[in-house]
Subunit: 243 residues, 2 copies
């Protein structure tokens, strides 16, 4: 793990790093020492580790909860090189949608492919970050919607350090099998008028989760329109399960 | 409006009253003076105005939010006389269920019948309670699930003083038409494994609400098993919209 920059502002210490080929960012409270809960955040498709939505959520986790937050670029996103295979598939999918095929199964297949790479990457990131003295081996949470759900479901299913997860904007096509192996508490965000994920697919993914405690929060609006008050709920959810 | 008893404990002032034939209870903060938000709470089937769940919620609304809370007995419940027509219908419904008919449409029809009586009763209760100097004409919220949803949906649709409502454990069969006239913010509680309300009916009732802000909270478990953390969410919901 190689740190490439450190900055501090508004009570938040930001460290950019590279773990092998994986570029990442770690946020912790200024002057933090000792173990603390760690949230791994997955970004959306076409976004990156420092997308505005990632930063906005990370700031609140750090400042209001004292958590550490880590985010890394998904292959083909942010500071990572274009991935020729992923690009080729994306182009083919685009052509198939234009020829009239359903979008949802194509997204699902693509996310399942990428997850085979990101699950081990993210586990390695947890290993490295939890070695740091200002993070340590505290409880881990996962936050990710849309692509961050498609990649997050197999990650949460595989990684026993994750004690609670916020997921959503994803459907059962991509990950029902992995969802059935998730048993930690989940807050699942669904947009009732999601133009990308069919309503029945969202409900089926929520249904597939094996967690004894899981809550579906559905709000009106399209894929990108999660209301601001859901972040308040997310903070309370992680505080309840990791704090 | 005739008060029949006043008591005070743990910071809560409780007044039992009768408004014509309607027995009710009003809870306010000890020593309250001046206008404040008012929550009308509808109780569940077979319950009454002072059922444990009603009291537990009312206490928190009063103590933590400074609200007034009013609850009255539904006809045939609590301190009200048995209603012969309702009893006859309930007995007939029981026989039809035993003969193999679906329960949900029978519940729905019965609740629609009772609502024709309770909507004007509850409006009269609001009129009377808002005349009191320690309640006044502040914003009104409604809380009711199960029977309290079946009766609450037509009430909230009809009563423009209601600015926000928590509803749930009810289906579209009973009240989709009235739900389509509700435009205030709604938090809608659904039990994912509800043995009384079919899942599709719950989702259809949430879908039918015309509110621009509405949130579905679905949790695992049967009809009576709403998790305790939902009350925390309800307090924040009413504080956001009435506070």
């Amino acid at each position: 793990m190689r740190f490439t920059s450190q900055t501090s502002s508004d009570g938040i210490y930001e460290q950019l790093f590279a773990l092998g080929e994986i570029p990442g960012v770690l946020w912790t409270p200024d002057g933090a020492a000792g173990n603390r809960p760690l949230i791994l955040m997955g970004h959306g498709g076409g976004q990156h580790k420092k997308a505005p939505g990632v930063i906005a959520r990370a700031r609140r986790f750090v400042v209001e909860c004292g958590f550490a937050v880590v985010a890394v670029d998904v292959p083909g996103h942010g500071d990572r090189p274009k991935d020729e295979e992923y690009n080729r598939i994306a182009t083919e999918n685009q052509a198939r949608v234009e020829a009239g095929e359903d979008l949802a199964p194509l997204i699902a297949g693509f996310q399942a492919l990428v997850a085979r790479q990101t699950v081990p990457e993210w586990r390695a990131v947890l290993d490295a970050v939890q070695e740091l003295p200002h993070v340590g081996a505290g409880p881990v949470g996962y936050w990710g919607v849309s692509l961050g759900c498609g990649l997050g479901v197999p990650f949460v299913a595989a990684e026993s350090r994750v004690r609670a997860a916020v997921l959503g904007l994803g459907g059962a096509l991509v990950s029902a099998e992995a969802a059935a192996r998730i048993t930690v508490p989940v807050e699942f965000l669904m947009q009732w008028d999601d133009e990308r994920v069919p309503r029945a697919q969202s409900l089926a993914l929520f249904d597939a989760l094996a967690s004894a405690e899981k809550t579906l929060h559905a709000n009106p609006g399209e894929h990108g329109e999660i209301p601001a008050f859901e972040l308040d709920s997310t903070l309370r959810f992680f505080t309840r399960h990791l704090g």
